[in-house]
């Protein structure tokens, strides 16, 4: 029997990384993800693995770039302001096609903002963030169990596609405690013939994203886009909840998905046929899954801890077929189930 333990989300990520075969962790302190870095400081050396407290998030992401280039499983974690600093590094990592894992335990912004939960970094995570045409695979857990599992999975995904993978969480998921079952599955190990291991008995390997010769960079970009299409075909993840007969579709991820599920149950008790479509992969976005419900669904309500970021992807998917409504809070505010329910009543003409 697998063991159930009690952990907070940040620790669950850290233990997930260790069980996912993370060889090197590089981090810099920032709330609300400090338990993650602290856990790694304590446990990585115990497993004979590498922990370095970097001098900045910029250094941390470039240490990850170096370690990933040397063929090991590498990871960094931070929260919003720190993740902003890592964007240059992520662009280089995507350009050089290095597998790595980054965790963003989002907090309120813009600027220094606050340390309360937020989903204000959605655009940054799924639309690029750094310069150039690239994509991160972005996974959005909504429980401590998923914080753990997705992190472990992320290393396999990263290696499979030679692509950076982001776990997009928020301060609430990072801080809350829940029981979870620790992963026992062995990590998938893939050969990395491209890695920097010393040019012994083979041609030299070069980790690079600079291609100054005419046309080469365009070809590289085309190859990247082909890879991204392959990822989109194989790795889109979605979690439908009470969706079979739903007329009101709530769309939410992470913390907001938990709230949306509670609201959907509540709505059903009041005779409103509500369901939740929870995107689990934010990139690739579950556009097709979302579209597949449009013949029955009469209204869509998107709930986010932002001014409305993911709602743009919902609108792109829906293409005007169904009205798309939005409820969000910003700056560390978390929507209440009562407010979401009131919005649902308003949309469905049940306003009390």
């Amino acid at each position: 029997m697998s063991k159930r333990v009690l952990m907070n989300g940040n620790e669950a990520v850290a233990e997930g990384a260790i069980r996912g075969g993370c060889d090197c962790y590089f981090g810099y302190p920032i709330t609300p993800q400090n338990e993650l870095t602290a856990y790694m400081a304590m446990h990585m050396p115990r497993h004979g693995r590498v922990f370095v407290q970097a001098e900045s998030e910029v250094a941390a992401i470039n240490m990850v770039y170096g370690a990933a280039g040397a063929g090991v499983r590498a990871m960094t974690s931070s929260s919003s302001p720190g993740v902003s600093l890592k964007q240059e590094g992520l662009s280089y990592i995507a350009g050089a096609e290095l597998p790595m894992v980054i965790v963003n335990v989002q907090r309120g912004g813009p600027g220094l903002g606050n340390i309360d939960p937020s989903q204000g970094d959605y655009f940054q995570a799924v639309k690029g963030g750094g310069h150039g045409d690239y994509r991160l695979i972005v996974l959005a857990p909504d429980s401590v169990q998923e914080m753990h599992d997705f992190t472990a999975d992320a290393f396999d995904l990263a290696d499979r596609y030679r692509n950076p993978v982001m776990i997009l969480a928020d301060g609430r998921l990072g801080q809350m405690m829940e029981p979870l079952i620790l992963r026992t599955r062995e990590p998938e190990r893939v050969e990395k013939p491209w890695a920097l291991t010393g040019a012994r008995g083979r041609e030299k390997n070069i980790i690079r994203s600079y291609f100054s010769v005419d046309g080469v960079l365009e070809k590289r970009n085309e190859a990247l886009q082909t890879k991204y299409r392959r990822i989109a075909d194989a790795e889109t993840r979605v979690d439908p909840y009470l969706m079979d007969d739903a007329e009101l579709m709530l769309v939410a991820y992470g913390t907001c998905a938990r709230l949306a599920k509670a609201v959907a149950r509540d709505c059903r008790a009041a005779g409103i046929r509500a369901g939740v479509l929870r995107p689990v992969s934010l990139w690739p976005y579950p556009t097709e899954a979302l579209r597949s419900y449009l013949d029955r669904v009469k209204n869509i309500l998107v709930v986010e801890m932002s001014a409305g970021q993911m709602v743009e992807d919902v609108r792109l998917a829906v293409e005007g077929a169904v009205p798309v409504h939005f409820h969000g809070r910003m700056g560390g505010g978390v929507p209440t189930t009562a407010d979401i329910r009131a919005k649902a009543d308003e949309i469905t003409g049940r306003a009390r």
């Binding site: 970097a54 250094a59 030299k204």
Partner: protein, 255 residues
Amino acid sequence: MTTTTEKPVFTRPQTLTDRPMAYCPGCGHGIVQTLMAGIIDELGIREKTVGVAPVGCAVETYNYFNIDMSEAAHGRVPAVATGIKRARPDLVVFGYQGDGDLASIGLAEIMHAANRGENYTTIFINNTVYGMTGGQMAPTTLAHQKTQTTPLGRDPETTGHPMRMSEIIATLDSPCLVARCAADTIPNIRKTRALLLKAFQYQLAGQGFSFIEILCTCPTHWHLSPKDSMDYIGRVLTPIFPCKTFRDRGAGHEG
């Protein structure tokens, strides 16, 4: 037939590829990289050496070295080198950086890699300008030196004085070897070679961070001929950037 008695006095290091270097005539990068290749050959470490190339004129250094190499974002060579060496301590790792890269945008990374005593070798090319982008002011630019962004000469009142990186690095306790030398005259190039060799040997012995600063010519942006550039190093640069060893823990020292 004299062929049987002829002895080769120079062969191309195995660590160098056949690619002609794309540096300007008289540029110091080529001298240093040829020295490094010879040392890697001499130590027999070509197959376990990994280099980190900077953003700058030396960005495509990996075209010239026949070894595994990584690019790094501008200034981040020390962080990338740290990542590689921590991931695979069995590799020999060097970071190659210009003065804009190391002393300006990457100042935090070099200071902290040095302070952690990361067991890799830094080769720091001080040519007192940003070469690749067209000869702008670097932190090492001399007072009153004309550059693209100091068209009237560097004004120390508003832009500061040249930063002496070896002296700054030598304030830290961790580095095992910190030295400045010059790639100008034959004796100086020999000294440079000896220092580079020592730096790699120290790394192989696990002695930690070594820092070799090399004064190098940039005829293009100094607006001098290659020959005058060589003279300029001894005449103008070395009085401000003295060539000396600031730290040498000596062989046999652990960590």
